[in-house]
Amino acid sequence: MTDKTITFEIDGVEVQAKEGQTIMQAADAVGKYIPRLCAFEGLPAFGSCRLCTVKVNGRFQAACIHPVAEGITVENDTEELLEFRRNIVDMLFVEGNHFCMFCEKSGNCELQAMAYRLGITAPKYPYMFPADRNIDGSHKDVFIDHNRCILCGRCVRASKDLDGKNVFQFVGRGPQKRIAINAQAKLSDTDLDVTDQAVQVCPVGAILTKHVGYATPVGQRKYDHQPIGSDIEANNK
């Protein structure tokens, strides 16, 4: 990243950015929230959830990947893009088994919060009800529930880049793609520790810490009072 300043337009507003920033980073800095699930500050950009799809000079691009450039026009908050995002969130809901009412992540879940922010009350696509998603409770402090995994890859990146461990990686392809662990059988056979970043970054209830499920009561959780993205929008002065 250099100190060179770049001027571009997002939703009709002219903003400044630093050369080398992605559109998402530049938008965050000026308090313009672009919805995302796989992107996470401190982790390398991944570009898998596609929620941050914006239009750059009329072409669809992922804001978490695409660099800013002088004079580009970015559309973000348009009905077309919002509808695409609702559809993608719908896809993530129907692809797995997400039962918010008895998931202990409820209220802290980014997928749930995103659905609320985008005004989704029920998915428009038919549920797939996958029956082959397993649960691994072997580890003494952490459990994995693949029913709720949205394949964002945050745990994969965090384990590799922040924890230096490689506990998680993707296996399979297409609809059979899953998160796998670095052991033949069980999570308890890996060197995962409850304090690892890989455990903390999961946006949904797929990787959860044991023993603390309801330490924070429902009603006092992160997204119970403010929609997701509010912290970024607070930068908008």
């Binding site: 570009g47 993530l92 392809r173 297409g174």
Partner: protein, 604 residues
């Protein structure tokens, strides 16, 4: 853990320098010698090359030709693409199942033979076809299938199975394949006579920039389907920072209905090698890679031999053609059964020993490609065009074809036609002319450019094959009046679901949703609103997918909705009764099994 496995793994890893970027080669070798890459083998490989076992598993689980579960020492793969389905796949499948006493995906109890389906193996002009390990059998009758099984049971090795050898180099002892070239029309670029080495010698007499200038003047565009200007790609790669650069040949033609690269690799490998060497000289690369799809493994010994002969002739190696300071050599990288690896960044991932996931762009391969080095990935046919441009001149080349689309194009034509095969035609030819040439005048529809292309009807047969009208990598699948086009579309969607890498949400989930709704319509359960549902969902998948696969996978539905809407309209009905979105009895099966009785609330 047997000591034997340890020895095998160590030998496999060491033969590739314990280099984890050669993971594809290592796991392929294990698969071949052990029939699988087992859990234990993955642990050992990870230890030997200094990576994590889950990284090995992520690769093994990605490719269709690799497996954790042990397969038979012989794997029979029946090609089940749409053309093979039209020409007897189902009968062939039944014959194999009966003869072997197993179903698809199963292995005979003696561990000898595994039976599988596989998407297009590049033999649509001689369907139905099967692979027996690396050996290919085409135009296969039921009797011949039974004979294959009998011989295998009698202990005959796949490479020794009786076969009639094909024409041209298919009869070369290093190929000895029962494959036919079916070259129906030779043009001036790819299939014209060849004086080996002349183009390369001419290129080396020019400066690299002059070579690129000629390719630009010829207005050559990529022949794989995307049509990016080749000279521009080379310019970017040449100009990118870095001492180490790569030329990669995309010989992973997996688009169903495409087989022209197979014929080039069989009959014109020297032209390809020359084109790659010219590219190496032009962009400043010393290393080239041919990424060969696993289905064409039968061509590998022949291609290795051709490379060796090129080295002996001084066309590869140190000081190519006595040009001081220009070293260039080529290695073959085998694929392992993944259509998405035809996408250039996925192909690079695969060459690096990773899952065949496409990469994020930017950076583009020209800036940061294979192993992070500037890389130019070009199609087999493109390299052949380059060699001919340098040999005959850019002016000569640009006079062939049409204005925006210079040169010739190889078409792979299959389906309901009298003369399936490869046709080298100048750009600018109409679909009507093509169909007359191939004997398909009564076609009801043509799928242009494979599943990711478009389905057109007779009212569009006046259209022109070129980059600005009917753009295509060359696959034309012709469907006669008797074919059900919606079944064709459904098959294409199944194909994309099977071949999606699963990295991004819209492609991984959206294609399944599209297929399911289409299936409903085909089975008479659709209503008019479903057509809007399909159109909107197609737009989401196209607009938000990460790579070309997802950006084009809705095309079969979109183009058939546009050009054959009546087929949908007769199948959808207003006022459909309530449509359950899932089968309650099926969902209760596990519970019923546990309880040992039927559900009290949901009577069957």
């Amino acid at each position: 853990m047997s000591e034997n496995l340890e020895t095998v793994v160590r030998a496999a890893c060491e033969s590739f320098g314990n280099d984890r970027t050669r993971m594809m080669d290592i796991v392929r070798e294990l698969q071949e010698s052990q029939g699988c890459v087992s859990d234990d083998a993955m642990d050992l490989i990870a230890k030997q090359v200094g990576t994590h076992r889950v990284e090995v598993e992520s690769v093994v689980s990605f490719y269709a030709f690799l497996s954790k579960q042990k397969k038979g020492s012989v794997v029979i793969r029946i090609c089940n693409d749409i053309i093979d389905r039209m020409f007897g796949y189902e009968r062939l499948r039944q014959t194999f199942c009966d003869a072997l006493g197993i179903g698809i995906g199963e292995t005979t109890p003696d561990g000898l033979i595994t039976l599988e389906n596989t998407p297009c193996i590049g033999m649509c002009d001689q369907a139905p076809a099967v692979m027996v390990n690396d050996e290919i059998f085409t135009d296969l009758s039921r009797d011949a299938a039974v004979e294959i099984v009998e011989q295998l049971r009698a202990g005959v090795a796949p490479e020794r199975l009786r076969r009639r050898l094909g024409d041209g180099n298919n009869s070369n002892p290093l190929v000895s394949a029962a494959v036919t070239n079916n070259i129906r029309k030779r043009g001036d670029v790819v299939f014209a006579p060849l004086e080996c080495g002349r183009a390369l010698r001419k290129a080396l007499a020019m400066s690299p920039n002059e070579v690129i200038r000629d390719v630009k003047t010829a207005r050559l565009r990529g022949r794989g389907g995307a049509g990016f200007p080749t000279g521009m790609k080379w310019d970017f790669t040449r100009g990118a920072a870095g001492d180490r650069k790569f030329v990669v040949c995309n010989a992973d033609e997996g688009e169903p209905g495409t087989f022209k690269d197979r014929v080039i690799l069989t009959e014109r490998p020297e032209l390809l090698i020359e084109g790659m060497a010219i590219a190496g000289y032009a962009i400043g690369a010393r290393e080239g890679i041919i990424y060969l799809r696993a289905e064409y493994a039968y061509l590998r010994p022949f291609l290795e031999d051709t490379l060796q002969r090129a080295r002996n002739m001084g066309m590869l190696g140190k000081n190519v053609m006595c040009k001081d300071g220009f070293d260039f050599d080529i290695r073959i990288q085998m694929g392992a059964g993944a259509y998405v690896c035809g996408e250039e960044t996925a192909l690079i991932s695969s060459c690096e020993g990773l899952r065949g996931d496409p990469k994020n762009r930017p950076p583009f391969p020209a800036q940061k490609g294979y192993l992070g080095c500037p890389t130019s990935v070009n199609n087999v046919e493109t390299f052949c065009c380059v060699a001919r441009i340098v040999d005959q001149g850019a002016g000569w080349f640009s006079q062939i074809g049409s204005k925006g689309s210079t040169g010739t194009k190889l078409l792979s034509i299959s389906g309901d036609i009298l003369r399936p095969g490869v046709y080298e035609v100048p750009f600018g030819i109409t679909m009507k002319e093509v169909l007359e040439m191939a004997g398909g005048e009564n076609a009801k529809a043509v799928q242009v450019g494979g599943p990711s292309g478009q389905l057109i009807g007779p009212d569009m047969f006046h259209r022109i094959i070129c980059y600005d009208d009917l753009a295509t990598g060359g696959a034309l699948m012709v469907f006669g009046p008797q074919r059900d086009l919606l079944e064709v579309v459904e098959y294409f969607m199944d194909f994309f679901i099977e071949e999606s890498c699963g990295y991004c949400t819209p492609c991984r989930v959206g294609n399944v949703l599209l297929r399911d709704r289409l299936e409903n319509i085909i089975h008479g359960k659709g209503e008019p609103a479903d057509l809007t549902y399909l159109e909107e969902l197609c737009q989401v998948v196209k607009a938000t997918s990460r790579c070309g696969l997802g950006q084009t996978s809705p095309n079969p539905i979109l183009s058939s909705l546009r050009n054959f809407r009546a087929l949908y309209e007769v199948r959808v009905k207003e006022d459909q009764p309530f449509q359950p979105t899932f089968d309650i009895q099926k969902a209760l099966n596990t519970a019923k099994e546990i309880a040992g009785r039927p559900s009290m609330h949901f009577a069957e």
